[in-house]
């Protein structure tokens, strides 16, 4: 029986890729470790090494095919045995007892993360469409946002790139700097094509020192340029936090208004997948605490494009908290050249009357999924996508709570002094008499993020936790 070669995953967040080239053809003998094909994701090009040995009997996916799902069969190998390709290399396998686990079960588990991510995207898009339709029908408490006309589906990654390219074309003072942003086009491929278009003076690879390049960018901003600083992850911005807080945020104030700091600090924030304690923190609370800073956290492609453009034009330092898992997700986004979103305005993604769920970044996906599930039980949740963490759109939140009388906040950050705490307090100040239940915060567990998949899942908020919180405030 033949052995199937499966599309490998290059990272925990990869769901599909392009099979760009076969380096072996049908009939070729393949040894363990041989490079048999090249695959391409939005992050990188990689060589696929054979795990098993044998004759390549059939190529199931021709070269040039895009969107090949991880773990789908791409070729068949006549291995002369029945070892699944996910097992160890043969030859070595003969010396050991056969693994009892059937290949299907093994590959299903590997694919689980990817599938979950797809589900998120699908639910989010359905929800977004419904929410927008309903908002137009006038069901939402807040005024519907400006109609920007035609839209097209793009990924959050493309939206961020487009926002930077548009603003760099518009204003020659805007430039991008950070580790790996130029030649490598960004650790997460956000700056694709920017070096080619704008050259090495405006897309700058820096030495590895967040403290150093942040300080340099702050200096450039005070001189009148408009730097965009990319952090490979916001976790690394901690090195530079003195420059961000003590200089970028305060110099306009301390200099008596003489020196402003029009600068954007952006990069992936929060947990991705399997990157553990030092690379999975949410910085929303940290930066939102600081006067002088603005903080936005886009969820959809439209959020990403509209908010990043606004951040680049803003005369103040703006922190743009992105999310690695959302980078590859596709959402409808307005195509209008002048599309931009105001900082400080939340969006009702899904109207409802029974409970207000306030979320930001990837937690909006979880909130939308929970709202779908709750709708089946007859509970209509209103989901507010904060978009902007500071300033906070307290009016939209309070208006919603005055309608639903109940509040649940959802975020991946830690419980202590998180954004939900601030939202709940502002609601208590503005709409205490309308509350029919104490607000409930759903958030990450109060532990550093563990690495192992099972523990990571436990540490993050889950859909059942959101549903349980909603039932608690609605006394269901």
């Amino acid at each position: 029986m033949g052995v199937q070669i499966l599309m490998p995953a290059l990272s925990p967040t990869m769901t599909e890729g392009k099979l760009s080239r076969w380096l072996k053809k049908e009939g070729d003998e393949v040894k363990s470790g041989d490079v048999i094909a090249e695959i391409e994701t939005d992050k990188a090009t990689m060589e696929v090494e054979a795990v098993d040995e044998g004759k390549l009997t059939k190529i199931l996916v021709p070269e040039g095919t895009e969107g090949v799902s991880v773990n789908s069969p791409i070729a068949e190998l006549d291995g002369g045995g029945d070892t699944p390709s996910q097992g160890a290399a043969p030859g070595q396998d003969t010396a050991a007892p056969q693994q009892p686990a059937p290949p299907a079960a093994a590959s299903h588990k590997v694919g689980e993360v990817a599938k979950q991510a797809e589900d998120h995207a699908a639910v989010a898009e359905r929800g977004a469409q419904r929410g927008e339709g309903a908002a137009k029908a006038g069901e939402a408490a807040a005024a519907p946002e400006k109609d920007w006309g035609p839209t097209k589906p793009i990924t959050v990654r493309e939206a961020l790139r487009d926002a930077m390219a548009l603003e760099m074309r518009r204003d020659k003072d805007v430039f991008l700097m950070g580790e790996e942003v130029a030649q490598y086009q960004g650790a997460y491929k956000i700056s694709q094509g920017l070096l080619d278009e704008f050259g090495p003076r405006r897309v700058i690879d820096t030495p590895i020192t967040e403290h150093g390049f942040t300080g340099m960018a702050v200096g450039a901003a005070m001189t009148g340029l408009r730097p965009i600083v990319e952090y490979m992850t916001f976790n690394f911005s901690m090195q530079a936090i003195d420059q961000i807080i003590n200089s970028a945020a305060k110099t306009l104030y301390m200099s008596g208004g003489q020196l402003g700091c029009p600068i954007v600090f952006r990069g992936p924030n929060g947990a991705a997948a399997r990157v553990a304690a030092q690379h999975s923190q949410c910085y929303a609370s940290w930066y939102a605490h600081v006067p002088g800073l603005k903080v936005v956290a886009p969820w959809s492609s439209a959020d990403a494009k509209g908010l990043l453009r606004a951040a680049i034009r803003d005369p103040n330092p703006v922190i743009v908290l992105e999310n690695e898992i959302l980078y590859g997700h596709t959402f409808e986004c307005p195509t209008a050249d002048d599309f931009i979103l105001p900082i400080g305005k939340a969006k009702i993604e899904r109207p409802g009357k029974d409970v207000t769920i306030v979320a930001y970044s990837i937690a909006v996906t979880w909130a939308m999924q929970a709202a779908e599930a709750l709708a089946k039980e007859g509970i209509e949740a209103e989901v507010i996508n904060l978009r902007s963490i500071r300033p906070l759109d307290s009016e939209t939140i309070a208006a919603s709570v005055k309608k639903t009388n109940r509040l649940v906040t959802v975020e991946e950050g830690w419980p202590y002094a998180n954004i939900g705490t601030e939202v709940a307090m502002q609601v208590i100040e503005a709409a205490f008499d309308w509350l029919d239940a104490p607000p409930v915060r759903v958030c990450g567990k109060d532990v550093p993020m563990p690495y192992a998949a099972n523990l990571e899942k436990l540490a993050l908020p889950t859909q059942p936790e959101i549903i349980e919180a909603v039932k608690r405030v609605t006394y269901k």
Binding site: S11, Q183, Y184, I208, H211, K445
Partner: protein
């Protein structure tokens, strides 16, 4: 007023990009044996030339030559060869495990094995390394159990870090292997602090700090040199210059303007620049620096000139930013091949015995992988305990964490 020319920014570019012919002309390599060996109590300013040369022992014929020849006997050389072969086989097996979905991430040290394996020979029990993510050889060279390392990479029920830490970021206190931090250079300055503590308490133990050439740009690197200069603690400051920090070539970190060894000059710290692919030179230079530390003569900085033959990690594809043939064109060769040739030149080895040893080691590594996989891998088999997720946040578990754990029912 004098006419001024418009200013322009210098952005360093590597000599060659993918598609071009590998070019290492920027590297000036002296003959093996050509660099002098000063006494260990030499003042820093008398050896500035050593930061601009490369200490080498093995020549093209596989002979050990010159004043840095440590005169290791065949058994010691064999032990070094074995450690390097084991490190390479371990890396290959773990790279494959990542492709098979048994772990999410791995970082090989291929081509750089001599640096860690050779360095460890200069340390004694109780000394402490503060490694980066590419010094697995420090553990393997002291025969640390491979199964233990693999369990960490697989994040399974036997993982001594309880599923909490990224693969490769090992922590083995008893092996003198400090818990690796995922954030660059944070531990370079901690190593200096550890060494200062050893001196303050009148201990005899020494520390070793590790950093890549790219991370010397970090403020922590410079802070470490300041403290190492002021208090002269017993520490060896290792800079592994493998030419590439992911896609950023060494020029982005300042390698065009001065060698990384020369960074020490402004601080008055004695500094050596060494062929990192020459096991004997690594052993000799490490021993020289360790002796300085043990004799209370203070810190030494060593730049190890080597080449990252593999990818930065399993998430990297080097063919996008450097020629594929660059690794083969690396002028300092492969550390394993060079030591093998030396052992053959000593008359203590042969190609046949080498092939046989490699097969034995591959079997050993495979057997270890089989055992470790039996304790679980990333997605299959036994997992780290869920209840343990709440332990170790504080020394004693506070009430609210106990409650969170109970709410989860774990």
């Amino acid at each position: 007023m004098a006419e001024r020319i418009p200013l322009s920014l210098h952005v360093p570019e590597p000599a060659v990009r993918p598609g071009g012919r590998p070019d290492f002309q920027y590297l000036s390599i002296p003959q093996a044996g050509a660099v002098r060996r000063p006494p260990v109590d030499v003042p820093a300013h008398e050896i500035h030339d050593l930061a601009y040369s490369i200490i080498r022992v093995l020549n093209r014929e596989g002979e050990a030559v010159g004043p840095w020849d440590p005169g290791l006997d065949a058994e010691a050389v064999k032990a070094g060869l074995r450690a390097m072969l084991k490190t390479r086989a371990f890396d290959a097996r773990m790279m494959m495990a990542q492709r098979q979905g048994k772990t999410s991430f791995y970082m090989p040290s291929t081509g750089e094995e001599a640096v860690a394996c050779g360095f460890q020979t200069a340390l004694e029990k109780g000394d402490m390394n503060f490694p980066t993510y590419r010094q697995q050889g420090l553990l393997i060279a002291q025969d640390w159990p491979l199964v233990d390392m693999m369990c960490q990479v697989f994040s399974n029920e036997r993982d001594r870090l309880m599923g909490r830490q990224l693969p490769v970021l090992y922590s083995a206190k008893e092996a003198g292997f400090f818990s690796v931090s995922g954030n660059l250079t944070t531990q370079f300055v901690q190593a200096v602090g550890w060494a200062m503590a050893s001196a303050i308490s009148g201990d005899t133990r020494i520390a070793a700090a590790w950093v890549g050439e790219g991370s010397t740009a970090e403020s922590d690197f410079h802070a470490a040199l300041v403290f190492a200069s002021v208090y002269r603690p017993p520490v060896i400051l290792n800079v592994v210059n493998n030419q590439w920090a992911i896609s950023a070539f060494q020029g982005i970190a300042g390698g065009e303007s001065a060698t990384f060894a020369a960074r020490a000059h402004g601080y008055g710290i004695p500094s050596l620049r060494v062929d990192g692919n020459d096991f004997l030179a690594v052993h000799a230079a490490s021993s020289w620096a360790a002796e300085r530390a043990r004799r209370n003569l203070g810190a030494t900085l060593i730049e190890w000139v080597t080449y990252r033959a593999g990818a930065h990690s399993t998430s990297d594809d080097p063919s996008r930013y450097r020629p594929k043939e660059e690794s083969d064109a690396w002028p300092l060769g492969d550390p394993i091949e060079r030591l093998k040739n030396h052992l053959i030149a000593l008359g203590a080895w042969s190609e046949e015995r080498h092939t046989q040893l490699r097969a034995e080691i591959e079997d050993e590594v495979l057997a270890a992988a089989r055992e470790a996989e039996g304790y679980g891998t990333l997605h299959d088999g036994p997992k780290p305990s869920s209840a343990a997720m709440f332990e170790g946040v504080y020394k004693e578990m506070p009430r609210h964490l106990r409650e969170q754990r109970q709410e989860l029912g774990v």
